[in-house]
């Protein structure tokens, strides 16, 4: 599939800022989707509210742009009503982990076949840079002018604990690994979750001395530690703190029966 068969060129210009990581994730996703030979006519992209949740609107397929935080719940109903469809969710840290946290953990637990891609930029970008549930401790945002006193969620570890069949985390600096993980997630039966730590130079970097996107990518490269190595080094990988390290890698790859298999839904007449 050619790049411009995949995207809706007529919907440009897009809403993303210069230097945003969304384009990198979209490109990796396109490569994974295209390499697997999946059909756009049999795939629905679902988004919630936020910058990353706008991605479905630019892909040349059916799209469901839903309410804030509920994309996984919408996608669950869609997938179970029509198991012939591949359902992919694009979401962000606020959409998935804050307002949608309940649907996220229960989605992992229920294990319906969904591919969920969370672009985690550690900030509320669309509304102008407020702290999110993944903003690192002591980092600045418009709602943490004295530094963030809370500690961030580790979305990937939550997904593992909640029961997702596939969980991986990469940064926008590791495009090759990210593309491979997206492929694995798209092929997976059951709930597949890929978290991508991404740069928001406009609303995160600018307030934290990394206004140039390349500074953020450099920071991702320096901070990334492979999960297997992080374990042996006895690093506290549960506390994802960008100030210290970003644990990356495949977190889990297992084959629990999917919800569809368990209830015997194949295709409704």
């Amino acid at each position: 599939m050619e790049l411009f068969d995949f995207y809706r060129k007529d919907r440009w210009p897009h809403v993303f800022c210069p230097g945003c990581g969304n384009g990198t994730v979209m490109n990796c996703f396109y490569r994974a989707f295209s390499d697997l030979g999946l059909s756009l006519d049999k795939t629905v992209f679902v988004g919630g509210i936020g910058c990353s949740s706008r991605i479905p609107l630019y892909i040349n397929s059916d799209a469901l742009h839903t309410t804030h935080g509920r994309a996984i719940a919408f996608a669950t109903g869609l997938r179970l009503s029509n198991p012939g469809l591949k359902v992919v969710v694009f979401t962000g840290d606020g959409d998935l982990g804050a307002i949608g946290g309940n649907h996220f953990i229960n989605g992992c637990r229920r294990n319906v076949e969904l591919t969920v891609v969370c672009i985690n930029n550690n900030i509320y970008g669309m509304t102008g840079g407020q702290a999110s549930i993944t903003t690192p401790h002591e980092f600045l945002s418009t709602t943490t002018p004295q530094g963030n006193k809370e500690y961030p969620f580790d979305l990937a570890e939550i997904a593992v604990a909640a029961g997702a069949n596939y969980v991986a985390r990469w940064t926008t600096r590791q495009v090759h690994e990210l593309t491979l993980s997206l492929k694995t997630a798209l092929k997976k039966t059951g709930f597949g979750f890929v978290e991508v730590i991404s740069q928001c130079p406009t609303n995160f970097g600018r307030r934290n001395k990394m206004a140039d996107p390349s500074q953020m990518l450099e920071w991702f490269k320096e901070s990334s530690v492979r999960r297997d190595k992080a374990r042996t080094a006895a690093v506290d990988h549960v506390d994802l703190n960008l100030a210290g390290q970003i644990t990356v890698g495949e977190f889990v790859n297992r084959n629990r029966e999917s919800y569809e298999e368990l209830i015997g839904v194949v295709k409704h007449g």
Binding site: L57, D62, A63, T67, L78, L80, S81, H103, N106, V266
Partner: protein, 376 residues
């Protein structure tokens, strides 16, 4: 799968389950809440996976979200809840209105505000049904007063929801939902399915049809439909900054219900032409029904659909009577609108009998109030 025709002795909530199956519901997502839970339990037994999907979700927001998703997958889908769950669903109800998604929401009303009276009947959510989500929108809502109507009006609510691509509501209550009575399921029940886009392209559907309802592009058929709660054009392009697009869209969403009011509205009239007329609906009408049956000086207009408000029959009754009594199980939610319509039609006196606390007004409550008004 269909409900077996015949006569049954059932609970109101169980009759709703049979109505849903008959109308073609094959997807249900629910969360336990008194006094609606029997609907979820009933559908859990019927939708077993191969012939439809039952889902117990993590909360009511997830329920209605899943139901909207299932509708876009091409299935008739519904949820059932009561006050607190209904409050949680409001944002997504606005989404269903904006995205023109046919779904059914059954609200078996209980006393509120807040946790209120979980096991007792109320009509406290009537205004919330119409005004609960932000922005201007319309809904279609029916209010059953018997076990039979729990079946009939479930089918109607689904039919009209499909026909107009609008969220449909069954506004029942703990009294009607839990009452037991006779249900006759006929051999032939009229079922309406949404008008699908089929093989047409999405851009062939831009022209606004006479009934203001666009054909429905089911996902997975190559339409490349973009469904969104943002202000959008007919070819699903988001245009949140465009005043004209917003005005045209929201006006059409409202008019497709209001202009088709005569098609949607259902009511029942007892002793028409009486000088004293009662207007009521749902369980609140049970007492008035007994009075109107026993007294030829008192008539009853019983609204079977409450949204859009059946203004024409209310005005017609108001023109012919001297005085009107509105009977509700809240502190007067429809009273204001009914009074406006009745006064405009020339009725001189419109009063309210409201009863809250859990029991519908008894015939003697109604008789007492009519005596005060000088009607009996």
């Amino acid at each position: 799968m269909k409900a077996q025709a015949g006569e049954y002795f059932l609970q109101g909530n169980e009759a709703c389950v049979e109505g849903a199956i008959t109308a073609g519901v094959r997807f249900f997502a629910g969360y336990p809440i008194t006094p609606s839970t029997e609907i979820a339990e009933g559908l859990a037994r019927r939708l077993t996976g191969k012939d439809g999907t039952f889902l117990q979700m993590e909360d009511e927001i997830a329920c209605i979200s899943a139901v909207i998703g299932a509708s876009w997958g091409g299935m008739k889908a519904m949820t059932a809840t009561s006050g607190p769950g209904f409050s949680l669903m409001q944002e997504a109800i606005g989404y269903a209105a904006m995205s023109e998604t046919p779904i059914l929401i059954v609200n078996v009303m209980r006393g509120g505000p807040s946790t209120g009276q979980p096991t007792r009947a109320s009509q406290g959510d009537v205004m919330q049904t119409k005004w609960g989500s932000h922005g201007d929108y319309q809904v279609i809502a029916f209010a059953p007063a018997s076990v039979q109507e729990m079946f009939d009006l479930t089918v109607e609510a689904l039919n009209y929801s499909e026909k107009y691509r609008v969220p449909g509501f069954l506004l029942s209550d703990a009294e009607v939902g839990h009452m037991r009575g006779l249900l006759r399921i006929p051999e032939d029940v009229k079922i309406v399915d949404r008008k699908e886009l089929g093989r047409k392209r999405l851009d062939e559907a831009y022209d606004v049809p006479d009934d203001l309802v666009h054909p429905f592009p089911v996902f997975g058929q190559g339409h490349k439909a973009v469904i969104t709660g943002m202000t959008h054009t007919e070819d699903s392009r988001i245009e949140p900054e465009d005043e004209k697009v917003h005005e045209e869209l929201v006006t059409r969403l409202n008019e497709k219900v209001l202009k088709n009011r005569k098609d949607i509205n259902k009511w029942d009239l007892m002793c028409p032409g009486s000088k004293t007329m009662i207007v009521s609906y749902g369980a609140a009408a049970l007492g008035p029904m007994e009075i109107a049956a026993a007294n030829d000086k008192v008539g009853l207009l019983r609204l079977k659909s409450v949204w859009p408000l059946p203004e024409e029959p209310i005005a017609e009754v108001a023109r012919e009577c001297d005085q009107m009594l509105v009977c509700e199980m809240n502190l007067g939610q429809l009273f204001g609108d009914i009074k406006r319509v009745a006064l405009e039609a020339g009725c001189r006196k419109v009063e309210l009998l409201s009863k809250i606390g859990g029991d519908p007004p008894t015939p003697s409550d109604v008789r007492h109030r009519l005596k005060q008004m000088g009607g009996v």
